[in-house]
């Protein structure tokens, strides 16, 4: 039996000053599934994440989260419903310590009984809880973003370019972590440009171009799809 979708996006549009950044995106994410969201720069990947996570209100369309209508809800409401995200450019609470960053999210998330130290360990930040967040390097700050999102106990996680800027030896660990999160039943939408990482992590991919979905299927099929090839290679 196929599980019902954790996240369902239907006909989602978002315009900025009359210019459509999303022009009718459909997307479905099931528990335990990792879906890659691909597309060239400006295709609407981050806008989609921003709209789904409540940062922007959609111009039209519908977002359903775990059976609830989540269209245009405020970010903190969506967090309580079970959704969270990370940022392309990490946004730690810089004056707080690493541990305090996670504690804030634990306190206001869905399950305050989790151990902040275990979450930091899981994200490769074990033993660094006492450091000021601003002292972390970019890759560590991305993992702190992820740790903070996990601290709210999300069932749907939107991950925006986690691997970008990571060293090669860190990529395997990041991929393993995302697979582990999915194995625990979470639904993940992963925006990424590194194809090796996408191959390692995702079950299937959705390709956006100019705010519309141009492909949905496996990565292998995508690499053979003429429209996708044209968008990426300009052939």
């Amino acid at each position: 039996m196929v599980a019902s979708p954790a996240l369902q996006v239907s006909g989602l549009t978002r315009s900025f000053g009359g210019l459509p950044a999303l022009a009718g995106v459909d997307l479905e994410l099931r528990p335990g599934e990792v879906v890659g969201l691909l597309g060239p720069n400006g295709s609407g990947k981050t806008t989609l994440i921003n709209v789904v996570s409540g940062v922007y209100r959609p111009t039209s369309g519908k977002v359903e989260l775990l059976g609830h209508d989540a269209t245009g809800r405020a970010p903190e409401r969506l967090v309580r419903l079970g959704l969270n995200r990370t940022f392309q450019t990490p946004r730690p609470f810089r004056p707080l310590s690493v541990l305090e960053n996670v504690q804030v999210a634990l306190r206001h998330g869905r399950d305050a009984r989790q151990s902040p130290e275990e979450i930091l360990d899981l994200c490769g930040l074990g033993g660094q809880g006492g450091l000021p967040a601003e002292s972390l390097n970019s890759s560590q700050q991305k993992r702190l973003d992820l740790a903070r999102a996990l601290a709210t106990a999300p069932e749907v996680l939107l991950v925006d370019e986690l691997a970008a800027g990571m060293r090669h030896d860190e990529l395997d660990g990041a991929a393993e972590l995302l697979r582990k999160l999915a194995a625990a039943g979470r639904a993940l939408l992963v925006v990424e440009h590194l194809m090796g990482f996408v191959r390692q992590v995702t079950d299937r991919v959705v390709v956006l171009n100019a705010g519309t979905t141009i492909f949905a299927g496996s990565l292998e099929e995508a690499s053979e799809d003429p429209h996708v090839v044209e968008v990426f290679l300009g052939a």
Binding site: L96, E100, N101, R107, G129, G130
Partner: protein
């Protein structure tokens, strides 16, 4: 790793599992300043100066709650002070409330004005600062309006001589300092304060950490205004006769802001040190150099802003973060 850096690590998980030494430190922060003012009144006979200094400690700490922990700078902070002064005066005149109750009603007046003005929190930065200033000015013109003479006595001021008691007012100010310190210690150490600092650092990321940003800011705003209301109430009692322009004087806002900034906003000790040192210096220069004291005081503030933009306590904090 240096011992200071290790101490920082150990103390980082402060909320919920605080080391005994930190608890003792917090108790001292709440108890020592009021005790100090009690002792000071025994060795220094200008009680009105000390009382005004305590009022500024409370104002600087109240401002610290909203500005230091959320980044909102209310230039019209004096509006809550004036509301507290008039809330107390009107409670005495019309409700014949005992002075202790009248002071609490003064605090309530500050809180109610803040609740009415809470939509201002939708604004940010300079817009918020200017809007709060405009609101304080509007309140001043409302209270000093001659058409309201039957209620507020309009521009002719208020007389509280019937309840005047300088010794009791001094003790009330001592308690106020303790309450202000307690509020800031609580905000600094609590989950609530941690959420406020997160909001100040990045409001969107705070919302995605599940923090209800609007509610947290509003609570900080109300706490801050209540402290100012109580300060205004006690000041009104202590001086017993005052005019609207005296309790809605913009320089009260400016002093509270400068004192808090001088010590260091977002800290517990900073605004206390700022108010005590700068108000002390202000009065010392005022007596010793009466012709030049505005000039000297102005230059002093400019130097502080130039060389210590994060306040007096930033010297210590900078060293701690560097692990020296």
């Amino acid at each position: 790793m240096s011992s200071i850096a290790q101490r920082l690590r150990a103390g980082a998980g402060a909320v919920g599992r605080r080391p005994r030494r930190q608890v003792v430190g917090d108790v001292l922060l709440v108890v020592v300043p009021p005790a100090g003012f009690l002792v000071a009144s025994l060795v220094y006979n200008n009680q009105l100066l000390l009382l005004t200094m305590m009022v500024y400690v409370a104002l600087a700490q109240g401002l610290n709650v909203i500005f230091g922990f959320t980044g909102y700078l209310p230039f019209g902070y004096v509006g809550f002070f004036g509301a507290g002064a008039y809330g107390t005066a009107l409670s005495v005149h019309f409700l014949h409330a005992p002075i202790a109750l009248a002071i609490l009603l003064g605090g309530l007046a500050g809180l109610l004005v803040a609740a009415l003005l809470s939509p201002l929190l939708r604004l940010t930065g300079a817009y918020f600062a200017i809007a709060s200033l405009a609101a304080a000015e509007a309140l001043y013109y409302l209270i000093s309006n001659p058409q309201l003479t039957a209620v507020t006595n309009g521009p002719y001021g208020v007389n509280l001589a019937s309840v005047y008691n300088s010794g009791a007012a001094y003790l009330a100010a001592v308690v106020l300092v303790g309450v202000a310190m307690l509020c800031v210690v609580w905000v600094r150490r609590s989950h609530f304060g941690m959420a406020l600092r997160a909001i100040r650092a990045d409001p969107l990321a705070a919302r995605l950490a599940g923090v209800n940003v609007v509610r947290a800011r509003t609570i900080a705003w109300l706490i801050s205004a209540t402290l100012a209301g109580l300060a205004g109430a006690i000041y009104a009692w202590a001086v017993s006769v005052f005019y609207p322009e005296a309790v809605f004087d913009l320089s009260i806002s400016v002093f509270a802001i400068v004192f808090a900034l001088f010590g260091g906003v977002g800290t517990v000790l900073g605004p206390l040190l700022g108010a005590v040192i700068l108000y002390g210096v202000y009065n010392y220069i005022g007596v010793s150099q009466p012709q030049d004291f505005q000039l000297i005081y102005g230059v002093l503030i400019v130097l502080i802003v130039l060389f210590l933009p994060n306040g007096l306590l930033s010297i210590r904090l900078r060293r701690l973060w560097r692990g020296r």
